[in-house]
Amino acid sequence: MAFAGRLGWSALSLGVFVALWWIVALVVDSRLLPDPPTVVRALVVAAETGELIFNLLITLARVAASFAIAMLIGSALGILLGLSRTADRLLSPWVVLFLNLPALVIIILAYVWFGLNESAAILAVAINKIPNVAVTLREGAVALSRDLAEMARIYRFGRWKTLRHVILPQLAPFFAAAARSGLALVWKIVLVVELLGRPNGVGFELQSSFQLFDVATILAYALAFGMIVQAIELGLIQPWERAANRWRR
């Protein structure tokens, strides 16, 4: 009931957005602001040639790879910073430095130093994301309960049980936060990386369309990709979060 209600409001809100867009497009009447049917036609054309699916899959693969690397390294680093004061003092300035380094600088340097190849692209995206994950997970590690750690020690849980039943559940909300903000950041940066140095993917297609001033195709790709990211959020992240939180009152 509540879910249906939320869905209804979302549909209404999006409907108003599309209507406004349509009205403005009709008033302006320019090739640079196509109306919704034109964008849908561009989407169908791109889909029929198979280019849309191919580019979306390539981009998604890059998002998945760099997201996984960033979450893995960022979490490990963040937990280390949260648990070891020495590590925090030593590495914190680096984290702040990388946190504030513009994404573009990292991308250009990665391409210059490692060549215009796939590994450089994925590495550049991951490096952009790692500091965010590390900062979030550091908060989580600092807040770990000492009471529960003592309990686990007295009852001889051992390393694996302690990690699985005591530590990771406490970090779950921080993983979820890092994953959500991470997904949003990673897929935006992946497009930039593709635009600058890859011969395929959504970013590359946007670049080609930009040179032709083909705004309809640009919007078609943005629409398709936006829907996929929304689907990941609704179908993957939110159900996992609900499952991880079912013990809460």
Binding site: D147, L148, E150, M151, R153, I154, Y155, R156, F157, K161, H165, V166, P169, A172, A244, R246, W247, R248, R249
Partner: protein
């Protein structure tokens, strides 16, 4: 089934937030007999919890030694707060410290049923009342079949009726499976009701002010009048005294 010998040459509470370091223990010695029930009495903030943590081995920052009559005794610890894992069910909380063997699950379920928690086995702890959470913590401490049971005011902040039920339950469990118990409390009625030895602490630094054997029979322990009479004669506390 363990005797414990505690010798603390020095234990200081580290300086924190501008307050200077203060000595908690200096040349303190306490021997606890095998299968005895020792109640440690004394005002709050004296360092009774610290003593339990030294025995349990989670606080190693002291000079001295804690030795047991057997190697690596299994320890059950009922903390001041229940310290359950909120993201694991009641049953999982009880079975996690246990080795994974075929009988574990059945035994844990049996213990929970005995303690009146049979219906709560698959519930998450935060959905239970504090009294029930304490019972789960007690079940966890007993499930490991401890050689040494440490209890830190396990019935504090419960209403009297609930606390009394839990005290009866504890006495019953110990009668069935005798073990060495060190029980911290500031409630001398509770101590007389349960323990066979009262150690009254004062300080700082902590010293043993009184060390009394409780000679009441199980029947006498069930009678509030007898408990008060014993407190009066053995501890010099009057009937109306709160401690």
């Amino acid at each position: 089934m363990t005797a414990v010998s505690i010798e603390i040459r020095a234990k200081t509470f580290p300086a924190a937030g501008g307050a200077p370091a203060r000595p908690l223990y200096a040349d303190f010695k306490l021997d606890v007999a095998d299968r005895s029930f020792t109640a440690l009495l004394g005002p709050s903030g004296l360092g009774k919890t610290t003593l339990l943590n030294l025995i349990a081995g989670v606080d190693r920052d002291f000079e001295g030694r804690v030795s047991f009559s057997r190697e690596q005794p299994r320890i059950g610890y009922a903390f001041q707060s229940p310290r359950l894992l909120p993201w694991r069910t009641v049953l999982e909380n009880v079975t996690l410290p246990l080795p994974k063997t075929a009988g574990t699950l059945t035994r844990a379920r049996g213990l929970l049923t005995e303690m009146g928690l049979g219906d709560a086995a698959d519930v998450y702890p935060e959905r239970l009342s504090l009294g029930m959470q304490r019972r789960v913590a007690l079940a966890r401490a007993f499930a490991v079949e401890p050689d040494l049971l440490l209890m830190d005011e396990p019935f504090v902040s419960l209403d009297e009726a609930n606390a009394d039920r839990l005290r009866d339950l504890l006495a019953e469990l110990i009668a069935r499976r005798p073990t060495t118990v060190v029980f911290v409390t500031h409630d001398s009625r509770e101590a007389v009701r349960l323990a066979d030895r009262l150690v009254v602490l004062a300080g700082p630094p902590v010293r043993i002010e009184q060390d009394v054997a409780v000679t009441l029979t199980p029947e006498q322990r069930a009678m509030p009048g007898e408990i008060d009479r014993f407190r009066q004669t053995a501890l010099g506390l009057t009937r109306g005294a709160v401690a």
